[in-house]
């Protein structure tokens, strides 16, 4: 297999993850497909600049994140939100006592997996303001380091850490609200400390 074939096959192996993150970034399938396709076109054109043996996955995500910021960010229907209400530390963990475990499938071995649906998780990610959504996606979903996220998004590491921290708290609050909407929360069970 030639180097180009290896590159193309390796890139295709990352397509599902790129697509899922693109879906969370753009919040619609058509734009997500366009974004990933544009990423692959750019990656192929830049093949000669890719250093063999280095992290192809990170390289592709950097191209995609950069493309998203430069192109799709301007198309957002909602005005870019940079403000986020401050949320208590360990928000969801401190409210575990309010969650009625008996309403989750009693046979579920993994209570956490049973507590939230796939749609809950996706909606919570997509409802985050873009400024906070990108670092949460790149860290919590894709596992990139703070340094990698800083390079991908073009902001200092300290800013990445701050946005990640606030974005995660906001996501926990959203998930708690979804659990409430599904009748899984009984706040009378919380004790006043």
């Amino acid at each position: 297999m030639t180097t180009r074939e290896t590159f193309a096959n390796d890139a295709m192996s990352h397509a599902p993850q790129l697509f899922s993150t693109a879906m969370r970034m753009t919040r619609n399938r058509a734009d997500a497909e366009d974004l990933v396709q544009e990423t692959f076109v750019k990656a192929w054109r830049a093949f000669d600049s890719y250093q063999q043996g280095t992290n192809l996955r990170a390289w592709l995500f950097r191209i995609m994140t950069n493309t998203y910021i430069n192109k799709y960010h301007a198309k957002q229907r909602r005005p870019q939100e940079t403000e986020l209400d401050d949320v208590e530390e360990l928000f969801l963990y401190r409210r575990l006592g309010a969650i009625d475990q008996s309403r989750i499938s009693p046979s579920a071995e993994d209570q956490m997996m049973a507590l939230f649906t796939d749609d809950d998780i996706k909606r919570a990610l997509e409802d985050l303001p873009e400024t906070f959504r990108l670092p949460v996606l790149l860290s919590d979903v894709e596992g990139f380091s703070y340094k990698e996220i800083a390079e991908m998004t073009g902001v200092p590491i300290g800013t990445v850490m701050s946005r990640l921290h606030r974005g995660r708290k906001a996501m926990q609050k959203l998930l708690y609200e979804f659990a409430k909407d599904r009748g899984l929360v009984d706040e009378s069970r919380l004790e006043d400390n």
Binding site: P16, F40, L90, D140
Partner: protein, 83 residues
């Protein structure tokens, strides 16, 4: 050894593997002796896992995969359908 406040303040950085080895060891030492902090750690580790697994369940169409393969040219990957 780290105390509860320090451990909870640095919990995310520990989960993200962003602490120095020495500091991570201090957090681990505290988690071994503190069931409250251990509980918080396990909860957030589980939540990370759930977020990662449940956010990656999007269907990807064979036609879209074919479009992606075509980005590399038919002579590189051919035009096989399917993942």
């Amino acid at each position: 050894m780290a105390d509860c406040k320090e451990t909870l303040d640095e919990l995310y950085r520990y989960l993200d593997s962003e602490l120095s080895p020495g500091r991570a060891d201090e957090i681990v030492s505290h988690l071994k002796v503190c069931t409250d902090c251990q509980g918080a750690f396990e909860f957030h580790a589980d939540l990370h896992r759930v977020i990662r697994e449940k956010s990656r369940t999007d269907d990807i169409s064979p036609a879209f995969l074919d479009n992606l393969r075509s980005c590399f040219g038919d002579d590189v990957l051919g035009s096989n359908s399917g993942a």
